[in-house]
């Protein structure tokens, strides 16, 4: 079979023809002076988030509980590592997938010697990663309004480390907690200046499904557990 012809011009032609007659806007939003609804307004309509860092953390904590994420406040990378060690021993982990980052590299020396490290930074064997017991990543941001963790390729060891192993551990600093998605997108835009990573993902709780009789089951395909280790 030959590749079908790309119908770009035909589709665009039909679109332009169709749009010759304007359509009314039935539900006009309050508009800014520029004629566009501004993202700054989103905050006035969405669920409220308190203005102080403590209020943001309180909301994030509350949502984490509802979402069945495990939030652990740690005073240092060493404490965070001790929690990983505890989880490894409780769940008899053999292999931990991880990537090199400021926080993960500070934690790694404290892990038990018999916990095998699978570093993904230079590429990895898919089967080996699939077989590992947990994945440890850093993240871009945490979002208070939704209880989400924002991961990207560069911040979190690529596309797969945060979703393939059955237990996802995230290590972050308190300063990474932003108010809402609007702030998250603004922060990403400022950081990457148009050169975005190939994936930005907001993870909100462990993998879940309610497809069978609407009964919540965690770990449908992605991680059954999501542990957030929060440093000062």
């Amino acid at each position: 079979m030959n590749a079908p012809q790309n119908d770009r011009d035909a589709v665009l032609g039909r679109i332009r023809e169709a749009l010759r007659i304007p359509a009314p806007l039935h539900h006009p939003a309050e508009r800014s002076a520029g004629g566009e609804p501004t993202t700054a307004h989103f905050r006035e309509w969405l669920p409220p988030v308190g203005p102080t860092p403590d209020e943001r953390l309180a909301l994030f904590t509350q949502l984490s509980e509802t979402l069945r994420s495990e939030l652990i406040l740690c005073d240092s990378a060493a404490t965070a590592a001790s929690h990983v060690a505890r989880l490894a021993s409780e769940n008899s982990w053999k292999t931990l997938g991880l990537h090199r980052g400021e926080l993960t590299s500070a934690m790694e020396p404290h892990f038990p010697a018999d916990l095998e490290r699978l570093w993904v930074d230079e590429g990895y064997d898919k089967d080996a990663l699939e077989a590992s017991d947990a994945g440890l990543t850093e993240c871009e941001l945490l979002v208070a309004q939704t209880g989400s963790v924002c991961v990207t390729g560069p911040s979190s060891g690529g596309r797969v480390l945060s979703v393939l192993p059955p237990h996802h551990l995230v290590v972050a600093r308190r300063s990474q907690l932003v108010t809402d998605l609007t702030e998250a997108y603004a922060s990403l835009a400022a950081k990457y200046r148009g050169q975005y990573p190939s994936m930005i993902s907001f993870i909100t709780g462990p993998s879940r499904t309610g497809d069978i009789e609407r009964i919540l089951v965690l770990g449908a395909h992605g991680p059954k557990r999501l542990t957030i280790l929060l440093l000062p």
Partner: protein
């Protein structure tokens, strides 16, 4: 669903007879939908101002849809600059051919797919299987429906009509697993089956919830993580997306993602909301080598050309209108015989697949407006059902019906005739028991299941005249 043996309307009526007679299933589906609705109301109530949010969401989609050409071109520019490939498909044939051709050219052996209603729309799986490709649906609900050989029942909750014992029997039959009544165990069976698929597949096919013009990204919303794996592990990613999915800016998602989650499932945010801008970029350690986006028209431009109903293209497929629809609750998803069920499906299907063949879906509504009320992007859904009815009648009046309404109009424009007709109503009422429930009963469709009130001995007009006369005699006012 794909090969209808009888005309869509006959099929619809037959299926409606059967499904409305199945009380246990109706009760279960209604209860489930009611729970979605309650969850949605609870989360919606946490919004500071849902109505303002809804107006803004409608405004964003209005802006995007009414400048569709510009935003799609912007998307194409941005996405291509990041190494992605864009294919524009006028129809389902072109979309299927492109994907099949790509799979052949790259020697693909196994394909894993995440939920995409566009895939259902163009019958992609059938085409892939016919060409010899194995394709596995990875969303749990879709996986179950694929095993069952059945179309999704609800475009957000594909297997919501099935009980756990039915799923257990299905897995037992198709996968040879032990029977269980635990949804947890059933989910874990699917997890085990599918895990190898992600690693072995060399092509992942997804849909897309939003096309972001500004940054050249496809945004995918899911709860299970299956889409993350589908587009993360295999070396080729193909996203099949309707052209109407575009939004102007990345930051628009800060509003649309919470609204999609709230309206659809009652969550503040769905489990995974991921934006994919191109294949693996320089310096990244993983991700697909190729990322193809197929932009699907397939008659969307027909709907676009109707300014009155253009806002139907604002739809973000949250499914909220299905969850509140009393028609959907009572006939279920399969009765529609369409890719997109429920009120929004009844609006758009006649545009996609022919007005005369699908106008019955617009007729099969009491126009209660619950859909319009719940829609997070303010689509005038139930009024569009009226518009479809009007367009269908103008195009080709139904046999007999055109004449009936002409006669009706003649009668109603002549008060004397009208009064005469209503005078005979009591007589009709006295005679009616003689023919009630028989084949000659003109109102048999009513009386088979419901009583009809007897006409009053004296009409209101007669009574009012007497009332006025008495007042004058009594000298009142």
């Amino acid at each position: 669903m794909s090969a209808l043996s009888s005309p869509p309307k006959d099929q619809f009526l037959q299926d409606a007879d059967r499904t409305t007679g199945d009380s246990p299933r109706r009760d279960a589906v209604r209860k489930a939908l009611h729970n979605y609705q309650s969850a949605r109301n609870r989360t919606g109530a946490t919004f500071t101002d849902w109505k303002a949010a809804r107006a803004a969401a409608a405004t964003i989609k209005h802006e995007a849809v009414n400048h569709l050409d510009q935003y799609l071109e912007e998307f194409e520019r941005q996405f291509t600059a990041r190494g992605g490939k864009v294919f524009w498909a006028s129809n389902s044939q072109q979309a299927r051919d492109y994907i099949l051709n790509l799979a052949k050219a790259r020697n693909v052996r196994a394909i894993v797919k995440s939920k995409a209603m566009t895939g259902e729309e163009i019958h992609l799986n059938e085409a892939l299987v016919a060409a010899g490709f194995g394709v596995v649906e990875s969303d749990l609900g879709e996986f179950i429906q694929q095993l069952k050989g059945e179309a999704p029942y609800h475009f957000v909750f594909p297997c919501m009509h099935l009980r756990r014992d039915e799923i257990s029997d299905l897995f037992n039959r198709e996968l040879g697993t032990a029977k269980t009544d635990s949804p947890e165990e059933l989910t874990m069976i699917a997890r085990r089956v599918l895990r190898r698929t992600y690693v072995e597949a060399d092509m992942g096919i997804s849909g897309g919830n939003f096309i972001v013009a500004e940054t050249g990204m496809i945004s995918i919303t899911e709860n299970e993580g299956n889409a993350r794996l589908t587009v993360g592990v295999p070396k080729i990613h193909v996203a099949l997306v309707g052209i109407e999915k575009v939004v102007p800016r990345l930051a628009d998602l800060a509003l649309l993602l919470p609204m999609l989650a709230t309206a659809g499932t009652g969550q503040h945010l769905t489990g995974y909301n991921s934006m994919y801008g191109g294949p693996r970029q320089p310096g990244e350690n993983d991700g697909p080598e190729e990322f193809h986006v197929v932009l699907l028209d397939n008659h969307r431009t027909r709907l676009l050309a109707d300014p009155e109903q253009r806002d139907a293209l604002h739809c973000i497929r949250c499914g909220a209108c299905l969850n509140v629809c009393p028609i959907f609750k009572n006939i279920g998803g399969h009765t529609y015989g369409t890719t997109y069920q429920g009120p929004i499906g009844s609006v758009i299907t006649p545009h996609f697949r022919g007005l005369q063949d699908w106008k019955h879906l617009s007729g099969a509504s009491s126009l209660c407006g619950a859909c319009t009320e719940t829609c997070p992007v303010g689509i005038d859904i139930h009024h569009h059902l009226l518009h479809n009815r009007r367009n269908a009648a103008a195009q080709k009046p139904a046999p007999g019906e055109g004449l009936l309404w002409k006669a009706f109009a003649v009668l109603m424009r002549r008060p004397a005739l009208y009064k005469l007709a209503t005078k005979f109503a009591p007589l009709g009422s006295m005679l009616h028991p003689l023919i009630q429930g028989t084949a000659v009963d003109p109102v048999i469709a009513w009386t088979a299941t419901r009583d009809f009130p007897e006409a009053a001995r004296k009409s209101f007009r007669t009574q009012f005249k007497a009332h006025q006369a008495a007042k004058q005699q009594g000298g009142v006012r």
